[in-house]
């Protein structure tokens, strides 16, 4: 009966129900978009590290993320190769550089140099062209999201990097950069040449371990042998990059802050409507109390109202959030909004939490109710 009473109380006043649902819906959509952007940002930030087939990264001290890499001496690679447990060390180059568009103007890019045959970091999600074509003299692969930014029209488009001509031989779909600076993939030696680095310079040594090697033990051994370089496991480097872009720049804080704001606004709206609904039904709650109901019984009615509001509001909010995600996905925005089953479950939990918190004021009101008021009516 508590559920029936809660349901009827809720649907008795349609206008108030609409206000409650709009409050929840607003909160859900805002939180979903903010946290979806947060997840999308994390995914983008970590995507190159996640797709690199290596267990340990050797880099210059002070490297805060994948994109902003300082060169190190290739000697480190050979030292690493002689360390027990290391199967291979793939040299890589990453650097910001200007891309001169064919029709004039420049755009900053992140040039990533790695040989596909090494199997370290190969452009993924290729939708046009061929990885093998990277072997051509001036070949590069870009993501189709950035075609316009790079002044390119597709395969065969050309541009210049540091005065050298490059030609697009492949297009990926979805390799985006958190900084919105496009990734441009090429071979290791071409990258070194385009950037004007010396023959002994690399930016990363991507270590692949022997099958039975312990990553932490090998990392410690490498660090001991390479005191001038920084040696990080894949997880450590991933966390460092995420921490830099999401926290140090304040971007993550802004996104999470937006989500918290949504939660607060939603809570206030739901609390206000639930409280006014409880006030309107105060005489009924006093009657329940006079009939001998426990306070727990009355709390159950209010919490059922809150849970019902949460369930309906969540359904509507998620529908709109998914619609927004679908639309933005089709627009191929630089920063995607990600929805995962985990995030959907978290949102449901947050909605229930928000509605439960909202019920506190109403519960506090009925807890202090005097059943004797039924005689004064």
């Amino acid at each position: 009966m508590t559920f029936i009473l809660a349901f009827r109380n809720l649907f008795h006043d349609r206008v108030r129900l609409a206000v409650t649902l709009i409050g929840i819906l607003f909160a859900i959509v805002l939180i979903a978009v903010q946290l979806g952007l947060y997840l999308g940002a994390r995914q983008i930030i970590a995507s190159t590290i996640d797709h690199a087939k290596g267990d340990i990264w050797i880099m210059a001290y002070g490297n805060k993320n994948f994109e902003e890499a300082q060169p190190i001496n290739q000697r480190a690679r050979f030292v690493a190769l002689s360390t027990p447990g290391v199967a291979a060390v793939i040299p890589m180059i990453t650097s910001f550089v200007d891309w001169k568009k064919p029709d004039g103007g420049t755009a900053t890019i992140v040039l990533v140099g790695a040989d596909p045959e090494d199997g370290g970091l190969v452009p993924w999600d290729l939708v046009d062209g061929d990885i093998a074509a990277l072997g051509a003299r001036d070949a590069v692969i870009i993501d189709k999201t950035y075609l316009e930014d790079l002044g390119a029209s597709g395969l065969g488009s050309t541009a210049q990097i540091n005065g050298s001509r490059v030609r697009v031989v492949g297009l990926t779909d979805g390799i985006r950069s958190f900084t919105t600076t496009p990734f441009v993939f090429t071979t290791f030696s071409r990258a070194r040449s385009l950037l004007g680095l010396g023959p002994d310079q690399i930016t990363y040594g991507l270590v692949q371990l022997a099958p039975s090697a312990n990553p932490d033990a090998v990392r410690a051994a490498l660090q001991e042998r390479l005191p001038s370089e920084q040696v990080l496991t894949k997880a450590e480097f991933r966390n460092r990059s995420l921490n830099h872009w999401m926290m140090s720049t304040g971007a993550g804080v802004a996104l999470i802050g937006g989500a918290i704001l949504g939660l607060i606004v939603g809570t206030v709206i739901v609390a206000q409507t639930l409280y006014s609904s409880t006030k309107d039904h105060l005489n009924e709650f006093a009657t329940l109390r006079a009939l001998g109901s426990s306070t727990g019984y009355i709390h159950k009615v209010i919490l059922s109202q809150a849970a019902l509001s949460a369930a309906i509001g969540y359904g509507l909010g998620m529908t709109i959030a998914l619609l927004i995600i679908y639309v933005t996905e089709s627009m191929a925005l630089p920063l995607p909004i990600v929805m995962t089953p985990g995030l959907a479950a978290l949102l449901f939990g947050l909605t229930l939490f928000m509605c439960a918190i909202s019920a506190i004021a109403a519960i506090s009101k009925v807890t202090r109710i005097d059943p004797a008021m039924v005689f004064s009516r």
């Binding site: 009966m1 508590t2 029936i4 009473l5 009827r8 109380n9 008795h12 005489n283 009924e284 009657t287 329940l288 109390r289 006079a290 009939l291 001998g292 109901s293 426990s294 306070t295 019984y297 059943p371 004797a372 039924v374 005689f375 004064s376 009516r377």
Partner: protein
Amino acid sequence: MTQPSVLTASNIVKDLGAGAGAVRALKGVSLDLRPGELTLLMGPSGSGKTTLLSILGCILTPTEGTLTLAGNDTFGLNAEQLANLRRHHVGFIFQSYNLFPTLTAEENVRLALDVRGERGPGVVVRAQRALQQVGLGHRMKSYPGNMSGGEQQRVAVARAIAGKPSVILADEPTAALDSENGNAVMELLSEIASNPENQHAVLAVTHDPRTIKYADRILKIEDGRIVGEDRPPGGDDNIHKLSRGKKRKFDAKS
């Protein structure tokens, strides 16, 4: 034979308010209620009727004095324990019916059983029986807003009796009703009190002189004290005849 009392109040004193503004609403009230009796508590406004009803129904606690309900001494019980006593031993009927407007008549009665922790298919049958008993077998799915005042008060009576409480306390049950409906409700209360199956002790607080003819006993309260007790001569026989007659009428309707 006189039945043992199900509710005994001894020297009940109740102070309302605190400090210099405190008012002594009840000044040593003693009474008992026995099954099978319809007792009227009559008195002018401000005499302490409702305060006494609230104390007898375990809604308020007395400042002094003792109250025993169905063998349970209420002294020192907290709000939850008093609520527990209420839900098992007291049925309330209110002046303004206090039905839940969003629930049907049957649901209103079921709610009172649900509060007592009684659930399952048997509860529906019991709620329906209670409504049939008050002549509303044909209005079970009606909402209070679509019922007359008399019908609403009968739903409230059904709600009060559904849990078979020892005591039924009615606060001005006829005040909001016209003469015909007022009489019907009083006949019903009289029948409920005298029903040999579930003998309830019924106490009705009232101003209404029309109700006197249904009473087994009348308690007069003035200025916080019981100042008189009457037993209308031959009342019992008349009431029982009336009740049986009314019951047949209700049964025929349902």
